[in-house]
């Protein structure tokens, strides 16, 4: 019997399912960042708001990368539903802690995907995911740097304002 599945699909079906789950997670991440941006805007933390608007956009790009990858390789990508987005935050510090936790969860999910790829010998998808592993490392570093600012500058009114102005710098790479 011909291997029609292999002829039509370059990736493993179980991996395709996990990638579709990952699309949902990235979409949820994007919506969560939008909620954070909105909170920052309402609390006059405009630099942090811009940061999170950009994060929301990046997460959507991640989602689209996976979406196209599935379809380009013969699979079926499913447009995700997003629900249960939290809009209620106590402080900017809580927002960045939540953002870091979110990125850690995404990293874990990507690593789980890579593990599955190795298990089923889907080397194509494993190679595709290398970019995400690198990207997640950078995302975690960025959020960690933001939290370090809170340790250094405190959260009184003036400290918070100065901290907000430094948020754009957390993306800058340290000189080697």
């Amino acid at each position: 019997m011909k291997d029609l599945v292999r002829q039509k699909l370059s990736i493993h079906v179980d991996v395709m399912d996990l990638l579709n789950k990952q699309i949902e997670k990235e979409a949820h991440s994007s919506s969560a960042y939008l909620a954070m941006a909105s909170w920052c805007d309402h609390n006059a933390l405009s630099y942090s708001a811009d940061f999170f608007y950009e994060q929301a956009s990046e997460e959507r790009e991640h989602m689209m990368k996976i979406f196209r990858y599935i379809n380009d390789n013969g699979g079926t990508a499913f447009s995700p539903e997003v629900g249960g987005v939290n809009h209620d935050f106590k402080s900017l510090e809580e927002i960045f802690e939540t953002a870091l936790d979110q990125e850690i969860a995404i990293t874990k999910s990507i690593h789980n995907l890579v593990g599955k790829c190795r298990k089923v010998n889907d080397y194509t998808t494993e190679y595709f995911l290398h970019w995400f592993i690198q990207e997640q490392m950078e995302e975690e570093q960025t959020m960690r740097r933001a939290l370090e600012l809170f340790d250094l500058m405190g959260t009184d009114v003036l400290g918070l304002k100065l901290l907000d102005e430094r948020i754009p710098q957390i993306r800058e790479k340290r000189p080697e």
Binding site: K2, D3, L4, V5, K8
Partner: protein, 104 residues
């Protein structure tokens, strides 16, 4: 045409010549391309069997539309249970075929 998997109510076939699949339902046989098979699989995966028993799905029916809405099926609880097992079995056989083909 080769039988992939057979359950109580359904049978799946692979046709090498036309490079497609056939699924035999109780009253109808449907031809599917691979993408349509994947879409079918996703619909079946989304069937919530628990809802048939916890009162949420009081009529105990599931509706399936296949192949760009060309085919419409209404399934009862027993058929839905069997369908889930059938789809899992079909894809297990396809994977087994891939492993065997790769090892030759």
């Amino acid at each position: 045409m080769k039988v992939l998997h057979q359950s109580q109510f359904f049978t799946s076939y692979q046709c090498d010549k036309q490079r497609c699949f056939f699924i035999e339902f109780p009253h109808k046989t449907v031809k599917l391309g691979f993408c349509q098979l994947l879409a079918f699989r996703q619909q079946v995966r989304e069937i919530d069997l628990e809802a048939h028993f916890n009162g949420q799905n009081t009529h105990g029916m599931e509706m399936l539309m296949l192949c760009n809405r060309q085919h419409f099926f209404v399934l009862n609880t027993l058929e839905s249970i069997d369908l889930k097992e059938f789809v899992t079995g079909t894809f297990a056989m396809l994977e087994l075929n891939s492993l065997l083909t790769a090892s030759v």
